[in-house]
Amino acid sequence: MSDIFVPSFVLARRAFFSRGGKMALSATAVALLAGNEALATSYNQTAAASATGDVDILNTALGAEQEAIAAYQVGAESGLLKKPALDLAIAFQGHHKAHADLLAGTVKKLGGSPAEAKKVSDYHFPTNQLKTGADVLRFAAGLEKGAVSAYLGAIPLFDNRDLAKAAGSILGDEAMHWAVLRQALGEVPVPDAFVS
């Protein structure tokens, strides 16, 4: 789409994230989320209710990430996105896959069962409203904005502060997605000083 501007630095980031899909998290968060048994064991010593609460929050976030993965798949397969917007959608889908993998792994580590992704058709995306590439990007931007708000609302609830920090890292990524999509649509990329 000739009227959608995709900054060149975004395309360079795609190459970075495609190398193994590893996220840069704090050492503590990585230790916990990557299977540090000592930390995982210590979690078992906390109140069962708080661990269950964190698992529930993580699974809710996982469900939203799985929906985003499916939404970008639908967008990419719609034929409405052309390069470079298509590259953007694929890159962002990759980030959401990394988020989902991290969340699912953490749920398992905490003794929970990760939420399962639905079939794409079961998400009932409003595809009849998506007529142009801009419609697809605007739909994606709405999901990203929602994700920012969701993580912002979830972080204060985490009993484990390392999980809260890791969720903050994901929030930052979603916010970047939102801003880049806004810019690709010709909108002010960062409309406000605060998000809510």
């Binding site: 529930d56 699974n59 809710t60 009932h124 708000s149 912002l152 609302g153 609830l157 809510s196």
Partner: protein, 131 residues
């Protein structure tokens, strides 16, 4: 009309129209402001379809945890079984702190802490779910 009658009329009007807000401490909400606040909900909810969270169509008057085939938490279903029905008051309390209002809910969201924002959001939900 004498002063007693005027006073009685004013009292009747305030009682009829002011009581809901006086009793529940709610301010009249602005649906236009509420629509912007609803942006915080769209990660998980939609008006017309179930997503990570249940749809909001038909919310007012609906028993909690009652949309068929939606995978509610046991806590939310239990709340509904105990008689929780969504209305202005119950939504105001729930939205302030979902996990405190229904311990065990999967709605992992800290809440809308500002009472005016909650009133605006509820006003928007009432308007859009009745369309």
């Amino acid at each position: 009309m004498d002063r007693d009658a005027i006073f009685a009329a004013i009292l009747a009007i305030v009682t009829c129209f002011g009581t809901p807000f006086a009793v529940f401490g709610l301010s009249p909400g602005d649906p236009a402001r509420g629509e912007k606040i609803y942006d915080r909900c769209i990660a998980c909810h939609a008006i017309d379809r179930d997503r990570t969270g249940p749809r909001h169509a038909g919310l007012f008057g609906r028993r909690a945890g009652s949309i068929p085939n939606f995978p509610y938490s046991a806590a939310m279903k239990g709340a509904g079984d105990k008689g929780l029905v969504w209305n202005d008051h119950t939504l105001d309390e729930f939205l302030e702190s979902p996990t405190k209002y229904i311990s065990g809910t999967r709605m992992g969201y800290a809440g809308v802490k500002d009472s005016q924002e909650r009133a605006d959001l509820i006003a928007y939900l009432k308007q859009v779910t009745q369309q």
